[in-house]
Structures are given as structure tokens and as C-alpha cells.
């Protein structure tokens, strides 16, 4: 079935089953492989993207659900908050293996968009759905605090 979706500001006409997970479309159809497949059941957060500015696990979102909405992936996230997060991530050298980090960053940007100066508790509650096998959680928290300061 032919569908038209907007990803990172670009419109894409695709021919897929509308029940296909958005994650498959991003990675296999549009070749936007920055968004990762981790668990496939919304338990790890590696596939986090933004839909109309809100975080969404792309593995449990049928592509039909994003028609007429704006999808943003790690390749397209931008603006002062995203810039501050990127700078903090590099400065603190947050990633270890890096596999989960695009999801971590998308969740961090979503949090900082909602709360400009999050507390540790705010961070824990917003980031608890993004797991990291390398256990970079302490650096992630530091980076979010640093980005919050830089974004102001």
C-alpha cells in the first residue's frame, strides 16, 4: 500500500504494509540506520524517535500511525536543545559501545524540551525506559545536567 510520511522534514512516498513497524521503514526503506533495533518490544528504548515532537518507540508504532505527523530521527533532530545535548555527550564522552545512545539522546532531548532544568528524579523518570548494557547511566545523567545549563 502506498503511504506518504514526513521524516526529518522530508516527505517520503513508500509502498509498504501499513502495519509495518515504523522502525523497519526507517531502517530498511529509508536507510536511516541511526535509529537502532534493540528488543523489538519497547523494553529498551534504542528505537526512540520523535513523533510531532514527542518521544515514541518506533518498534511498536505501526507506520500507518505516523501518516500526517512529523517524524524526527537522530539524523534530523536539531535546534538549541539538541545542540546542547550533542555538545554535552561529546564533552563528557558518554558512549561506550554506543548502540543505545541514539535512543538515549532522543529521550534526553524530549525531556529537556519539557523541563529545562530537570532534577535527578526527573531524569530517572524520563530515562528509565532507555537501558544501556554498558551502564553509562551516570555519564548520561551528568550530560543531561550539563546540556540543561548550556541550553539556557
Amino acid at each position: 500500500m502506498k503511504l506518504s510520511i514526513e521524516v526529518n522534514g522530508d516527505r517520503h512516498d513508500i509502498d509498504v504494509d501499513p502495519e509495518t513497524p515504523l522502525l523497519w521503514v526507517l531502517r530498511d526503506e529509508l536507510r536511516l540506520t541511526g535509529t537502532k533495533y534493540g528488543c523489538g518490544v519497547a523494553q529498551c528504548g534504542a528505537c526512540t524517535v520523535h513523533v510531532d515532537g514527542r518521544p515514541r518507540r518506533a518498534c511498536v508504532a505501526p507506520v500507518r500511525s505516523v501518516v500526517d505527523k512529523r517524524v524526527t530521527t537522530i539524523e534530523g533532530v536539531s535546534g538549541p536543545t539538541a545542540d546542547a545535548v550533542r555538545k554535552a555527550w561529546v564533552s563528557i564522552d558518554v558512549p561506550q559501545c554506543g548502540y543505545c545512545q541514539s535512543g538515549q539522546i532522543m529521550s534526553a532531548v524530549a525531556l529537556l524540551t519539557k523541563i529545562r532544568r530537570p532534577s535527578d528524579e526527573d531524569i530517572d523518570h524520563a530515562m528509565s525506559g532507555n537501558i544501556c548494557r554498558c551502564a553509562t547511566y551516570i555519564r548520561i545523567r551528568r550530560a543531561i545536567h550539563q546540556a540543561a545549563g548550556d541550553a539556557e
Binding site: A126, M127, I131
Partner: protein
């Protein structure tokens, strides 16, 4: 928008209620007979017609609520009526990952319910429009049928709905409907939504007496 949605939940939650004044003044209907309009029993939920053999009004009313409570106390409903700050899942275990109700019942900023729960169930993921937790005052977790019956008749905990609005809610609300449309790995609530609506209306009509 969130405030509206919260109010909508309060107004349309499964926490159905009637005003106490109405309990006193409502005329009781005659015991139900085998009217052809009663829906048949379905998957563990009895038909209203099955209660016609109970001639005592109070006894029949109590029995009807206990039947309604089979749905209200089911995991599909109780999991999002938790007594604490976290929802439950599956057969009542803590939700994984850790999520919290947040200020409005729609989750924490940055990790709202809609991060994972879409407008309908999809693959393993439960879903329904406006997916969120019931307010704390509407918690059902760990409560008896009697306690829930009393709770939903308390204007402070029922969203202020009229009996007609409550019956409408039971029969048509989309979030209530989810109880019978979970993903494959989860057990649906007993019966079906229309049958629940009939049982609830029959309970109202019989005087809305709470079980012991």
C-alpha cells in the same frame, strides 16, 4: 489539553457512580424477565436475564454488582487503577520499564504513556486513545467489590457523572473498550462491553445496592 483529558478520564472512568440522593429516590424496576433484548452470557459474564430468579430487590442488586465487579476487578482494568504511583501490568506485577503516573496520569515528562501505547493494541503493546492512569482517588488495586461499589458512589471519587452518563460510559467509552481488545498475550476482561453496560444499567435500576 491534558487538563481536559484528565477531566475526561475522571468523567468517563470505569469508576461509575450514582448520587446518593438518586439511590434513595430512583424507582426500582421490576425483576428482569427473560426479555429477548438481554444479551446472552459471554465468557464468564452472566446475562441480566440470569438474575431474574432473584426476587428480592436488594439481593438482586448486590448480585448484579458482583457480576459487574468481575470486570472492574479484572487485571485489564485494575492495572491502570493502581493504589500507588506506578501502573501494573500483565497479572498485576509492576510495570516494566519503571514508569510513573506524573502530574496528570499521563506519565513523566519525557516518558509519557504514549511513548509506547498507541491508539490501539499493536503487536505485544496494549493501546487505546488517551491511554493513561486513573486518578489516585479512583484506585481499585487491592479493594473488595464492596469497597469499589462504595467508592464509585462517592461524588469526590466518581467524576460527578450522572447515572445515565455512567451507563453510557460503560457501554461506549474507548478506554473501557480496551478491556476486551488487549494484545494476544493478555487475557481480555470477562464478557463484552455491551453486556457490561446492560449489567451496570440493571444494577442502577435495581437500586444500586452494594454487596456485603
Amino acid at each position: 489539553m491534558k487538563s481536559f483529558s484528565r477531566n475526561l478520564w475522571a468523567a468517563t472512568s470505569l469508576c461509575v457512580a450514582i448520587g446518593l440522593g438518586c439511590v434513595v429516590s430512583c424507582q426500582r424496576s421490576r425483576p428482569p424477565t427473560s426479555e429477548p433484548t438481554w444479551l446472552p452470557a459471554d465468557r464468564g459474564l452472566r446475562s441480566v436475564a440470569d438474575f431474574a430468579v432473584i426476587s428480592d430487590d436488594d439481593e438482586r442488586s448486590r448480585a448484579l454488582f458482583l457480576e459487574v465487579a468481575k470486570v472492574l476487578q479484572h487485571d485489564r482494568c485494575v492495572n491502570c487503577h493502581p493504589a500507588g504511583e506506578r501502573p501494573l501490568q500483565r497479572s498485576g506485577e509492576p510495570h516494566q520499564p519503571l514508569v510513573v503516573r506524573g502530574e496528570d496520569g499521563f506519565g513523566a515528562p519525557g516518558l509519557g504513556c504514549d511513548t509506547c501505547h498507541g491508539e490501539s493494541s499493536y503487536l505485544n503493546m496494549p493501546g487505546s486513545p488517551h491511554w493513561h492512569l486513573a486518578p489516585l482517588e479512583m484506585a481499585w488495586e487491592g479493594k473488595s467489590a464492596r469497597a469499589i461499589c462504595q467508592q464509585i458512589q462517592d461524588p469526590q471519587r466518581n467524576g460527578g457523572k450522572s447515572p445515565a452518563e455512567l451507563a453510557q460510559h460503560m457501554t461506549h467509552d474507548e478506554l473501557v473498550a480496551y478491556g476486551w481488545a488487549p494484545p494476544e498475550q493478555l487475557e481480555p476482561a470477562p464478557g463484552n462491553q455491551r453486556l457490561l453496560g446492560q449489567l451496570f444499567q440493571a444494577w442502577l435500576d435495581s437500586g444500586a445496592v452494594c454487596p456485603e
